[in-house]
């Protein structure tokens, strides 16, 4: 076996299990009149919702290159970003976790980041149309919550 970073090697070994697990994760279906916040997705990966200790797949709307989804607002939620790349007859995966308190009417942006040597991460900011960069710090962005 070629020399691989420990994290990537573990991910390679775990990938069949992870893929099987992801395929059985239920879609997030908001309760009637549940407050929602919009998230725009950039960069690498597909995010999953972790709420109340349970994982949910987030249905993603695609409009050209623009990908958006909705998450529950008003409470801290966990987000798990799952990157999967296949090639050279292997599947490489990388998972990053974070949490945030979305608020109704405050749109968020999740950016999936690929770092060196198979590592990855996730950053969450809020949209701010008053700035030319269009983004502002999201103060509730924090480490994993579940």
């Amino acid at each position: 076996m070629p020399i691989l970073p420990r994290g990537l090697r573990a991910a390679l070994l775990m990938s069949p299990l992870l893929l099987a697990a992801c395929s059985s994760i239920p879609d997030y279906r908001p309760a009637p009149e549940e407050a929602q916040a919009k998230i725009t997705l950039l960069g690498w990966g597909k995010p999953y919702l972790c709420k109340g200790g349970k994982m949910f797949s987030l249905p993603i709307k695609e409009d050209g290159p623009l990908r958006t989804t909705s998450v529950p607002a008003g409470e801290r939620i966990g987000l798990v970003n799952y990157i999967s790349i296949s090639g050279y007859q292997v599947v490489s995966t990388c998972i990053s976790r974070a949490s945030v308190i979305p608020r109704k009417g405050v749109d968020l942006i999740v950016n999936g980041i690929l770092a060196d040597a198979g590592k990855c991460g996730m950053e969450i900011v809020r949209e701010d149309t008053s700035k030319d960069t269009g983004v502002a710090i999201e103060p509730s962005f924090a480490g994993p919550s579940c």
């Binding site: 950039l42 942006i109 950016n111 980041i113 960069t133 983004v135």
Partner: protein, 142 residues
């Protein structure tokens, strides 16, 4: 001697296999791509194959930012390697470079400007500086 020549030929062959500077839209071998937003920024990325160095991918993205700026008539641009740095207005002179399966991916958020400000790069200067990288397909040593 034969071993040295074989090694040299192998190096040349491998260098020739690196993803060239090209549009990545619809390409199976990678290249550059842009997505508009957030705000007035654009997300610029370059994906390379296993023969593309991380530094070359970074320089391709920087050059692409300058190309995008020139195409839109903007003499300056600012790069932000992450959205958090964009939110804090902390410019970067180098894209964020990562890799998976030994394939590099360089990304940056670029803000196009009409006038210079802190952290801005001059479009024409970047194009001139990195043109040899585009022509040769070899990274500039820093």
């Amino acid at each position: 001697m034969i071993q040295r020549i074989s090694g040299l030929l192998a190096c040349l062959a491998l260098a020739g296999c690196a993803t060239p500077y090209q549009s990545g839209s619809g390409s199976l071998t990678g290249g550059h791509a842009e997505v508009h937003g957030p705000g007035k920024m654009e997300l610029v990325e370059f994906s390379g194959n296993g023969y593309t160095s991380m530094e070359l991918a970074a320089q391709y993205v920087t050059y692409r930012c300058a190309e995008v700026a020139k195409a839109k008539g903007k003499p300056y641009f600012i790069m932000y390697d992450t959205l958090i740095n964009a939110a804090r207005d902390v410019p970067s002179y180098r894209p964020l470079v990562g890799s998976i399966q030994n394939k590099p991916s360089a990304t940056t958020f670029v803000l196009l400007l009409d006038a210079p400000r802190r952290g801005a790069q001059e479009t024409s200067a970047v194009l001139a500086d990195l043109q040899p990288v585009i022509d040769s397909g070899k990274e500039k040593k820093i």
